[in-house]
């Protein structure tokens, strides 16, 4: 099967990490890394690894003409401008910014639901780590209220995240309801500056209807954690789900693959890994469609 031609838009930390992950893909072929800063380290690395680059951002991608899918790792503001142009060009957009032009996707929870979309959003790192757990519990016992706490190393939170910290808590909490299925939700983020940097950790508290079968919940959560491990090997349940009063508590650590970003930045790794996973599954859908049209 021919690989699908893709491009990475944005040559910062996230874009560069994506580049490393895409090199391993058997379904996607990275054709171009597009940046806007000719001096960027990401573009230099891309050239060194033999990828075509451009320094006029989306223009270079549109000029190329062969690219079917773009990973947008720029900023929310930039993606708002990119989205309609990509759509007009028939290019599928995997959006890693907080712009949320398209629906939010969490690979192990709701990807199939949006197979007809031309733009999907990766929500937030906290959502990628915690929403599957909420959904897994909700399958067994309706979750009345879910609370997620993500603690990340200060060094792994960029200036945009810091400045717009409300955006993180708001979008994560919304996806816990809309994708995870909780009736109510709250999301908290804590930045820890410890040196050496701490690994991303998440705690999910889910208020469920009592009585509840703890074992079935544990099985459901551990099964979804295994699925996530297939694309984020460092996803580890450190405290298995247990009933504490009226709620189930689960703790998760996410160690990154260390492709370009340091292993402690599991929060960044989980979002780039999820993006590649989403893209590969769309590539499968697109190639099936292509076979169907070709008869």
């Amino acid at each position: 099967m021919a690989k699908l031609s893709v491009a990475v838009l944005g040559s910062g930390n996230i874009g560069t990490d994506l580049m490393y992950k895409l090199r391993r893909s058997t379904l996607l072929e990275l054709k171009m890394v597009a940046g806007i800063d000719p001096a960027s380290e990401g573009l230099a690395l891309a050239r060194k690894l033999g990828f075509e680059t451009c320094t006029d951002g989306i223009e270079g991608i549109l000029r190329n003409g062969k690219i079917r899918m773009v990973f947008d790792a720029t900023s929310a503001k930039a993606h708002l401008a990119h989205a309609p142009r990509l759509k007009a060009a028939g290019i599928f957009a995997v959006d890693l910014t907080p712009a949320a032009v398209g629906p939010g996707v969490i690979p192990v929870v709701n990807l199939e639901q949006y197979s007809a979309e031309s733009n999907v959003n990766l929500v937030s790192c906290g959502a990628q780590a915690t929403v599957p757990i909420v959904a897994a519990i909700n399958k067994i016992s309706p979750v009345q209220y879910a609370e997620t706490v993500s603690t990340i190393a200060s060094l792994s939170a960029g200036p945009g995240t810091r400045r717009n910290i409300d955006e993180f808590t708001r979008t994560t909490a919304r996806s816990v309801r809309e994708i995870g299925g909780a009736k109510q939700s709250k999301s908290i983020i804590v930045l820890n500056p410890a040196d050496p940097p701490i690994i991303m950790r998440n705690t999910v508290y889910a208020v469920v209807e009592l009585p509840v079968d703890e074992k079935r919940i544990r099985d459901s959560v551990m099964a979804v954690a295994e699925k996530i491990k297939s694309y984020v090997p460092g996803y580890t349940v450190t405290v298995e789900p247990f009933l504490d009063g009226d709620h189930i508590t689960t703790c998760i650590e996410v160690t990154g693959a260390g492709d370009y970003l340091a292993p402690y930045a599991g929060n960044l790794d989980i979002i780039t890994a999820a993006a590649v996973n989403v893209a590969e599954r769309y590539a499968g859908i697109i190639s099936k469609e292509r076979m169907a049209t070709n008869g």
Binding site: P159, D166, P193, C251
Partner: protein, 340 residues
């Protein structure tokens, strides 16, 4: 020398002592007594601030708006203040508190993360509130770094910087060094918030004032995280003895402390709450530099999982936990008990 402004945090930090169970009725009566005593700023809310009510760090006895209303409707001269940590509390929360009559916003973050407070400080300023940049656990980083973070908050529009020794980890000469350095670097006043884990809360407060601090936090009966805060009534007596000027009346603040105790006794859920004390757990928390808010979670987890609270505190210290990582308490307690 200018008058000192006493900020009473009983109804906010004190909530840590009672696992967030202060009721609106208690808050209303205590706020009225603090107001009558001449306290200028009265802080209210969850121990970890507005937006803190959660499974993670404890649910408050009543929703935040009810707590705020109870205080705002009971005070005449004093200003109502909230504490808000971005990441927990949001700008919507801040706006809601303002709409309910809160006029002081103390926007807080771990001492190295000032850039998470920019939008919230700007919002407080645009609402014409007194906007305060509050650096939690400042003893966890260097004097130079604290100066940089304070300058950032000043650039966002903060009208004073509050330095919080949230673990009760520092001793007077260290407090003096930080306060002096920040005052030399910014054009706005500096305040100080003590905890008593090493028995230094009053001494540290006096050291901060001698170094030029213009705002000082206290709490009735010392209610607060860890071993508690600087006891407001002790602080007022010490300030008067030391010749520092404040508007707080000594008998009035003693009355307020009595009213707090009276109200606590009235409430069945609080009847068995121990007064904050310098006990073995809190001494170790000060020594190992563990955030005061962890005191009740540590005691509870140690009991529940049958582990030594001292071991638990030392492990938390070694992990360099910051405010609001209470989930680590359970994880470490389970590990110590061989359950995880």
């Amino acid at each position: 020398m200018a008058k000192l402004t006493v900020v009473d945090v009983t109804l906010r930090d004190g909530n840590h002592t009672v696992r967030q169970q202060f009721t609106p009725e208690l808050m209303s009566r205590v706020a009225a007594a603090l107001d009558a005593a001449g306290v200028a700023i009265i802080e209210v809310g969850h121990g970890d601030g507005t937006g803190g009510s959660s499974i993670h760090v404890g649910r408050t006895a009543a929703p935040n708006d009810q707590l705020i209303k109870a205080v705002v409707s009971s005070i005449k001269k004093a200003k109502a203040s909230i504490f808000l940590i971005p990441g927990f509390g949001t700008m919507d929360d801040l706006q809601q508190c303002y709409d309910l009559g809160v006029t002081v916003a103390r926007v807080a973050c771990h001492c190295t993360e000032a850039d998470t407070t920019e939008q919230h400080i700007q919002l407080a300023r645009s609402l014409d509130m007194l906007a305060v940049g509050y650096l939690i656990s400042f003893g966890m980083t260097s004097v130079q770094r604290i100066v940089e973070e304070a300058k950032k908050m000043e650039s966002y529009g903060a009208q004073y910087i509050n330095l919080a020794d949230s673990q009760g980890y520092l001793v007077p000469h260290q407090v003096r060094e930080y306060v002096t350095a920040v005052l030399n670097a910014v054009k706005i006043p500096v305040g100080f918030h003590a905890h008593n884990n090493l028995g230094c809360s009053i001494g540290n407060s006096l050291a901060a004032i001698e170094a030029g601090a213009a705002y000082v936090d206290g709490s009735l009966k010392g209610f607060g995280g860890g071993a508690g805060n600087a006891q407001t009534e002790t602080l007022v007596a010490a300030l008067k003895t030391g010749g520092f000027e404040t508007d707080v009346d000594l008998f009035g603040i003693l009355d307020a402390a009595d009213i707090l105790v009276e109200e606590i006794k009235k409430q069945p859920s609080l009847a068995n709450v121990p007064m904050p004390t310098v006990d073995n757990d809190s001494i170790l928390m000060g020594y190992a530099c563990v955030y005061g808010g962890y005191i009740q979670p540590v005691k509870r987890a140690a009991q529940e999982y049958g582990c030594d609270p001292r071991e638990l505190v030392l492990r938390l210290g070694a992990r360099k936990v910051v405010a609001a990582q209470e989930d680590v308490v359970i994880e470490e307690a389970r590990r110590l008990a061989g359950k995880a």
